[in-house]
Symmetry: D2
Subunit: 365 residues, 4 copies
Amino acid sequence: MAGSGFGTIFRITTWGETHGRGVGVVVDGCPAGLELCEEDIQCYLNRRKPGQSRFTTKRKEEDAVEILSGVFEGKTTGTPISLVVFNKDQRSKDYSALANVYRPGHADYTFDKKYGFRDYRGGGRSSGRETTARVAAGAIAAKVLRSLGIEVFAYTEAIGPYSIDLSAWTPEVREENPLYMPDAAAAKQAEAYLEEKMKQQDSCGGVVGCRISGMPAGVGEPVFDKLDARLAQAVFSIGAVKGFEIGDGFAAAALTGSVNNDAFCLKDGRVEKRTNHAGGILGGMSDGSVIYFRAAFKPTPSISSPQTTVTRDGKEKEIVIHGRHDPVIVPRAVVVVESMAALTVLDSLLMNMTSRLDGIQRFYC
Amino acid sequence: MAGSGFGTIFRITTWGETHGRGVGVVVDGCPAGLELCEEDIQCYLNRRKPGQSRFTTKRKEEDAVEILSGVFEGKTTGTPISLVVFNKDQRSKDYSALANVYRPGHADYTFDKKYGFRDYRGGGRSSGRETTARVAAGAIAAKVLRSLGIEVFAYTEAIGPYSIDLSAWTPEVREENPLYMPDAAAAKQAEAYLEEKMKQQDSCGGVVGCRISGMPAGVGEPVFDKLDARLAQAVFSIGAVKGFEIGDGFAAAALTGSVNNDAFCLKDGRVEKRTNHAGGILGGMSDGSVIYFRAAFKPTPSISSPQTTVTRDGKEKEIVIHGRHDPVIVPRAVVVVESMAALTVLDSLLMNMTSRLDGIQRFYC
Amino acid sequence: MAGSGFGTIFRITTWGETHGRGVGVVVDGCPAGLELCEEDIQCYLNRRKPGQSRFTTKRKEEDAVEILSGVFEGKTTGTPISLVVFNKDQRSKDYSALANVYRPGHADYTFDKKYGFRDYRGGGRSSGRETTARVAAGAIAAKVLRSLGIEVFAYTEAIGPYSIDLSAWTPEVREENPLYMPDAAAAKQAEAYLEEKMKQQDSCGGVVGCRISGMPAGVGEPVFDKLDARLAQAVFSIGAVKGFEIGDGFAAAALTGSVNNDAFCLKDGRVEKRTNHAGGILGGMSDGSVIYFRAAFKPTPSISSPQTTVTRDGKEKEIVIHGRHDPVIVPRAVVVVESMAALTVLDSLLMNMTSRLDGIQRFYC
Amino acid sequence: MAGSGFGTIFRITTWGETHGRGVGVVVDGCPAGLELCEEDIQCYLNRRKPGQSRFTTKRKEEDAVEILSGVFEGKTTGTPISLVVFNKDQRSKDYSALANVYRPGHADYTFDKKYGFRDYRGGGRSSGRETTARVAAGAIAAKVLRSLGIEVFAYTEAIGPYSIDLSAWTPEVREENPLYMPDAAAAKQAEAYLEEKMKQQDSCGGVVGCRISGMPAGVGEPVFDKLDARLAQAVFSIGAVKGFEIGDGFAAAALTGSVNNDAFCLKDGRVEKRTNHAGGILGGMSDGSVIYFRAAFKPTPSISSPQTTVTRDGKEKEIVIHGRHDPVIVPRAVVVVESMAALTVLDSLLMNMTSRLDGIQRFYC
């Protein structure tokens, strides 16, 4: 079954394996008239690419994007935009030893059960490299959103046990440390923790947070296509995500209604909320306040310490995974979360344009 | 935009408002040959219906389901199954006072912003009553799954701060207390806590857990339609859900890879995992172990204590919500979570049937 | 697989069998704010209902529609509109004799092959009665279109060998004869022909034409979702349709480019075409001129003269189909074609609203 | 709105413009385990490529396909297959003169109305070159179908007024003349007719026929997703198609039921039909006999004789279209029709696998 597509009106289809010819995406449904060049996309890809710091894999991938269609004289034409990142640094021999073995925490076993066999080179399609295509598409969605005054901003909220102090949150700081944490002190602690894990040939998990500001109220569909439900799917479709919360999330489960309800008030004649426990969404539709959510990432499953597992031909075996792996996925995942959020929010905004007859009449008459 | 449909191959479309003629669902894509009668569906609806205990709204709804199509001589025919629950107990006057006011924590404001006006009687389409239709459809999905050896079992994991002891988990106990908790001791504490909240004219939140057993490995699509991503959307599309976790969820974010990875092993010649931190899904596909997830529900927003808010015509106002409201949503939501999980898992199982050429050849040749 | 839904943004799902409880449709994605009452729908159903003249089946069906949801205080709310027509006149005994036999020209055999068995009463789901639900939904789509200045007008173009004279086409005449032909002279001839076929216990086919006026230019998607391609599917999904043409259709295959090309010209400063061989669509998008198409309907397969066939248990057999059948489907199909065209055009109009960035910016900023 | 995708389970998304970097397609949902190499696809593309004979444009395009993903060790992996044909021979200057003018019979005007501007080089996305991507995907679908014993065979049925003699139909002859007509005598006449049109600087239309053999009965969904309705959309989505018929098509409209009904009979214990007026589909589902349909193509709109039109900035103007154009589209369209039919039939076959509970149980248990 086709499962590599996402979105309804602004729809993307990704393709590619980590050790094949490359990865790519077709963006179908992008409105015409957006100024777009490769640099708009490249700056997003650079935030995801390997080799940025001592905390990311040493693989060198330039991840240079090419636009193959859908842009003419510097503007999108409304037709599909095909983007490709050709692979350069493929050390296939690194992986051949793992062809016959199921790495714990990876999708090797489930791929074999589903399809009968798999491209075993570096995880094939289940590699994190697939998210390159999502980021390339997300960069376009984010540019459309910015032209509407909407900003999506993701960041590292926690690495292992070290969380940022949300009250001291400073967005600018995000770019000043290799972990993309908007809190310099927490970043220091997290860096030390990571160094320790790397020495132990171990890995760790973390949390990505995301804020969406500038949203008009009323966006999202009230039943199955709730904006938060679609964000949940979008973010959960990133490999390694194990939890998703909006607003107070799991903490809200322990609150009472009198505390958790956000009172409405007037500010300069506009309806606002005194608090934002809800995280900017009520009944599946944006309420005009900042949308914020968090996603939990499991530790990188590829670790160098020995693990026990089973081979494809049914024998137990001890394995050691060599190669160049990120000790934590989170810093490079920040821009992936931001991209999936941008794609979701844009698609919901476009869906929302047909919700009222008077809006349609104004458009056509 | 159409947003009241869910699923691709086994697809449901719900309709109806809490104080209209009724609520219903069309189930399109149900395979032919399933024995089905109204009682199969009614027993699921009875678990959701109001008036079951002192902890649920006193509204009396019989919630009697009628099958209008798609069943002939006791079996599904493969054509759409139309189900309806006509409304009986509609006290519309209870709500008229709220026509002009935005209840905190509800979708009144966002509905008005999206559509320009709303059916204000009891929340209209955004009422929890909409989930009746989901449960009616879920009962059918669950029956198909049982015929394949797959069981979906949801339960109350926490009410406010009181959680079940997962090590003392006994499924049979779920039916023995009005809170659907599979732990008698925790249920006692939670009942006392709820009594207190009701006296305080307040409400509380909680957590629903769910386990899916009997799943074959390899079900789910590896990129956007990951089984866990689709479960996340499905469960998040239930009003009041604020968080979703699979396996260790947010706790996994603080673990290391050496702890969190589930080692593969052989048991009676079959591949199994020694632990199940992953919650039964790897790379978006079922791995053959039990799938388990948790969903956080916020406190019921309708409370009788005074709250401040804003009116439709732009004035601040204090309101007190009278009426017959559940002090906690969770017990009645258990079967809703179970239903959404069943719908999702069945749809993914059907999607998976075309993943291999040899499977298709066996089917047709 | 779910196959009873049509449309993407304005999406309908039909259900029901001819001899079950009733037929119905859920309309999901109708914009909020449309004034709608049952009479708006009933007047469309009345054009389709049996017993209108001596040329339609004598079955008496009142076909009274009920709105079960989605309308509040006389206006659509933007939530799903559930419509139902309960069955009244079901003479199931008429059909029991045919339970074991495959009627030529009907879907009995193919239903059995697909689903293993079938609701054999009057054709079950494959009965023309299923189109009641399409017409109910189409009436709503047509009302939305009229509010945008767009009119869909279908009519009988031919009954057997008797065609209308297109140069003498007068829309008003359509309502003045039981065959819905906009040409009084042709209607007379066709009536005489039909009387003859009825005496011979035979049936005949015909052609439905349709014109759509008031369309803005640029509606339709340029590749797979071309407006004409979607109209083709929509109309071909009506049972008994065997051919579909737009503009000059098959005649264009025998023309030369110099004749078939429609020259552009200016009229009062606006771009127009001197001719309309294309039928109002170029490259899959409306060109601002009248859209016109034709659909061929095969003769009613239910005839009273003896036919040879095969039984479900594998024996050859001669059958005579008694009952109350239309000698020609076309007059009652006119409003079905009109409805499917309205549903398609409206959905394409809504899809088109997101094609340009400046349109989106105007909508939101 | 995304409109460049086709299919549900076996889903393709095409991209690219005639004078951009290239054209391509992503095939998502192809089952794993199909042996596939570039030559399997190239042989289909060669049937479509320009420069094959004196009756096709003299443009030289090698149309060499590259597989970028989804194939590993010679077999499809179940993940998306990305195919690309990079452009080589682009003479953009040929077209710059037409940037400001609306060519009659082309989509220039409608593209401008929809998107505000367009890639005017050679028609951009609306060029017939877009069908390269369809053929590449269709080659894969056809290979899957052949492995199931199903053959799709399209051919030229008519060029202008010259039709093949269906009773003398010999498939082998199709490859023996540049027009792909399975009738040598008709091909001769058509060639002479075409020479004449070319001398007159004119073009002509024609008809493509298609036969699908080996289909099991019961494939197709009975309401909106009827197999014939989906074929109609598929074929009508090819630019220049103006009509589509199945079985007797428009001729059936003039027949009587007693003639048009196909009597069922038994042959070697199997149910067959004595005739095949229906064209192999009853009630939207395959009936086990050969499926056959016809599509009408309009004359090539690009002709060298002078035409009157309007410019983008609103002036009337006479134009002469130079360049290298096909005098008739039909011969190169044969493989496009075959491809769209293969894609449609395969998708419907996959959809059909979930229609019965016992089939699902056999698959999983």
